[in-house]
């Protein structure tokens, strides 16, 4: 697939569904009690930092902001992906798979973030947080393309860390948030009321209305 034109890549995200509010359905039959409790917990009980130290947590946040930029949100509304990553590592809960020959998940994250900082120092002579957005993006792209200095990663693979941990956990958290459901036009909670209209270009009144076409991405005309 074609690489994206940098100009297209740097245009900030805009939602095709500006009027959609998945939380607006709160009192409708789309939400059962179990779902209300889960979504309320996610909105109101953002986990406190307990695993990383202040500095590493700030680095993690900067990395998350490069992966999922949220300049369009106020600090209050920003989806705090790093908080749930910290919680995951603090509670040390498994996801059911420990790949043979790899360190524990806690170790992978600690070494991975140290690796990002090391790679930034090596290339720029300063820390990741001091880079411009474009420089941060380019640096992470290098990791994904396997161009990191392998000596700085202490037995973990930079690309595997980037895709298999950093990106994967970030999207698992981000796209589980109602604000993310809003921006992508996802129906969201749907029990007991599901949907009637299943056909193409058809939707129920309680689904998102597409106001404008989604923005260009690579490979699309």
């Amino acid at each position: 697939m074609a690489e994206t034109d940098p100009e297209v890549r740097e245009v900030p995200f805009e939602t095709p569904y500006p009027d959609y509010d998945v939380l607006g359905k709160w009192d409708s039959p789309s939400y059962n009690d179990a779902t209300r409790r889960v979504v309320a917990d996610r909105l109101h009980n953002v986990p406190e930092r307990r695993f990383f130290d202040d500095e590493t947590f700030a680095l993690l946040r900067a990395v998350i902001d490069a992966i999922l930029p949220q300049q369009d949100r106020t600090e209050r509304d920003r989806i705090k992906v790093e908080a749930w990553i910290d919680e995951m590592l603090y509670t040390n809960k498994s996801d059911g798979t420990h790949y043979a020959g790899t360190p524990s998940r806690r170790e992978v994250w600690t070494r991975g973030l140290a690796g990002i900082e090391h790679e930034t120092q090596r290339r720029h002579g300063k820390g990741f947080r001091e880079l411009s957005f474009q420089e941060q993006h380019a640096l992470l792209k290098c990791l994904d393309e396997g161009e990191a200095d392998p000596d700085a990663w202490h037995g973990i693979d930079a690309k595997s860390f980037f895709r298999g941990h950093l990106l994967k956990e970030s999207v698992k958290i981000y796209y589980a948030h109602p604000y993310a459901w809003d921006e992508m036009g996802f129906g969201g909670p749907a029990a007991p009321r599901g949907y009637l209209r299943l056909g193409p270009d058809d939707r129920d009144p309680w689904e998102a209305r597409e106001d404008r076409a989604p923005q260009k991405i690579r490979g699309l005309p």
Partner: protein, 551 residues
């Protein structure tokens, strides 16, 4: 995952003569209970497609049965949220080591932990095997023959489909004629229509997928409301999982279910026969005496338990004189192609795989590999989709949020392709132990050349079809689904763990009944074959009992 919704994971529910009524919030059904120190006729380990079916059928035949499950006993109407993260509670999230050249992702990918097993989160695709596959060695020269005739399996498929009220088409376009499905097929979603359009353009047949969710009322359960959260648990009980079918039947017929009960070891007596099971419940190890033990823990936990039950008479683990316990573990290839459609698809609605193409299961010409694959239309929920996007494409930055905002225009086709049985793909015990002292299993998996050729073939064919249906910006993802094998059944004690009735060759009161019995994987989702095979094994055991051949 959390205690925000319920305490089912912290406190046992099936106790004191009652078990949860899965059809009503807060209500109970009566449950018979059996003392630990008097041997029950059958102790069954696991309540998925193998264990719950056997529990129901054996209890109905008058046997005393206790079925154990490591997972919680949920009432879907009050315990299940419309939320991917919360519903991770349905998965087996205990650490397992995964190695080999192509380590399998476990957990949410293929392993359930709840009363009802993985069917609580399965995608409900209810297909039968192509008849010739049951003798793949004799018919095609690969894998191993099943010790069962296909006509017998088809007889039990019909019974399984009726028990689960499968919603399917009036006529199925592949294979021998079959009877009508018990319930009418579901309306096709936009996502399914993409597959249909692609298949028409390519000149291959397609069909509405036989699906294990209700298209009409059944008892206290309503028809499917097309909510689309099937893969993380149905909150309206339309899905015909074991939790709402064979588990309630088992209770009604007098079986006892013990939830949050992890069986760690099968005890054997001086004669080498099984005498009962050690299980961990409410913080302590307990022992249930049994005349017969059935292991139904699926392809990792079943070998794990048999291996961990090694004793002086059975030094390599129980039922393992063949050395086959844990070997020949198989998965399904799950490669997919995704693309963007002009029209809105909104694939989050309805069961995710409402259309199927089995062309390459039934067409043998033009393949450079053994075996077959089916593929279906797709409807992943947001985090599921995003995870596969970033793992395979490495998308991040503004591009990631933009890409995800095409979600409602996306369509996909994903294969279920059989991998070859290989001895080196296996389950073993590692040196590490978990918090209750049980050895952590180690899973080793590598593709063979045949597997890779099949994946390549499917990628090409699926891509061509999706393009023919009008999709743009195509990209591929690779993954696996399901588990099969690890304790295969057969005709020869030297090369199989159990016989065609699931009875161990080495210990005559020890049985295995689950997906680990599969000698080959087949190119369709495994659940209906496991249920059908379990119904068959139940009848075989009941017949043995009548002939006085049971312990």
């Amino acid at each position: 995952m959390s205690t925000v919704v319920s305490d089912a994971q912290e406190h046992i529910r099936a106790t004191g003569g009652r078990a949860p009524n899965v059809f009503r919030p807060g209500e109970w059904v009566p449950m018979k209970e059996y003392p630990e120190n008097e041997p029950v006729d059958f102790a069954i380990v696991g309540t998925g497609c193998g264990g719950s079916v056997l529990a129901a059928q054996l209890a109905e035949a008058g046997y005393s049965v206790v079925a154990f499950d490591a997972g919680a006993f949920y009432r879907p109407l009050e315990d299940f949220a419309s939320d991917e993260r919360e519903q991770e509670k349905l998965y087996w999230l205990e650490d397992r080591i995964s190695g080999g050249d192509n380590p399998i992702t476990l957990g949410s990918n293929n392993s359930g932990r709840a009363v009802g097993g993985s069917t609580v989160h399965f995608q409900m695709v209810a297909l039968r095997w192509r008849p010739e596959w049951f003798k793949s060695r004799s018919n095609f020269g690969y894998g191993h023959d099943w010790p069962v005739d296909w006509r017998e399996m088809w007889h039990y498929y019909a019974k399984a489909e009726d028990a689960m009220k499968i919603a399917g088409p009036i006529s199925y376009p592949w294979g021998p004629r079959r009877g009508r499905y018990p319930y009418r097929e579901h309306e096709l979603s936009a996502s399914a229509l993409v597959l249909a359009r692609g298949a028409e353009a390519m000149g291959v047949k397609w069909c509405a997928t036989p699906t294990a969710t209700l298209s009409a009322p059944r008892g206290e359960a309503h028809p499917c409301v097309y909510r689309g959260f099937c893969k993380v648990g149905c909150a309206t009980n339309a899905k015909q999982s074991m939790l709402v079918t064979f588990v309630p039947k088992a209770l009604r017929k007098g079986a006892e279910i013990r939830d949050l009960a992890m069986v760690g070891k099968i005890e054997t007596g001086p004669d080498g026969r099984a005498t009962g099971v050690h299980y961990h419940r409410q913080g302590e190890w307990r022992f249930q005496k049994a005349k017969n033990v059935v292991v139904s823990g699926y392809s990792i936990e079943t070998p794990r338990l048999l291996l961990n039950s090694a004793c002086p008479q059975h030094p390599d683990g129980l039922a393992n004189s063949s050395g086959q316990v844990g070997k020949n573990l198989m998965v399904h290839l799950n490669d997919a192609v995704w693309g963007i459609m002009e029209e809105e698809i909104r694939w989050y609605k309805g069961p995710p795989s409402l259309a199927v193409c089995e062309h390459w299961n039934y067409e043998d010409a033009g393949k450079d590999f053994h075996g077959g694959y089916s593929f279906m239309s797709q409807g992943p929920l947001p985090t599921d989709f995003a995870t596969s996007l970033v793992s395979n494409e490495g998308v991040f930055g503004h591009e990631l949020r933009k890409w995800m905002s095409h979600y409602n225009h996306m369509a996909g086709l994903k294969m279920v392709g059989e991998t070859m049985p290989q001895e080196k793909n296996r389950v073993e015990l590692s040196d590490e132990t978990n918090e209750i002292g049980l050895p952590i299993p180690k899973v080793t998996f590598s593709y063979c050349d045949n597997d890779k050729k099949m994946a390549k073939h499917a990628q090409n064919f699926q891509g061509e079809m999706l393009r023919a249906a009008g999709a743009k910006s195509l990209y591929n993802t690779s993954s696996t689904a399901h588990l099969m094998g690890g304790c295969r059944m057969g005709d020869d004690p030297k090369s199989s763990v159990v016989n065609e009735a699931g009875r161990s060759w080495d210990i005559d009161n020890l049985f295995v009944c689950d997906g680990s019995l599969f000698p080959t994987a087949g190119g369709v989702n495994p659940s209906m074959t496991i249920v059908a095979n379990s119904l068959r094994i139940a009848d075989r055991i009941i017949a043995m009992g009548k002939r006085g051949e049971l312990h």
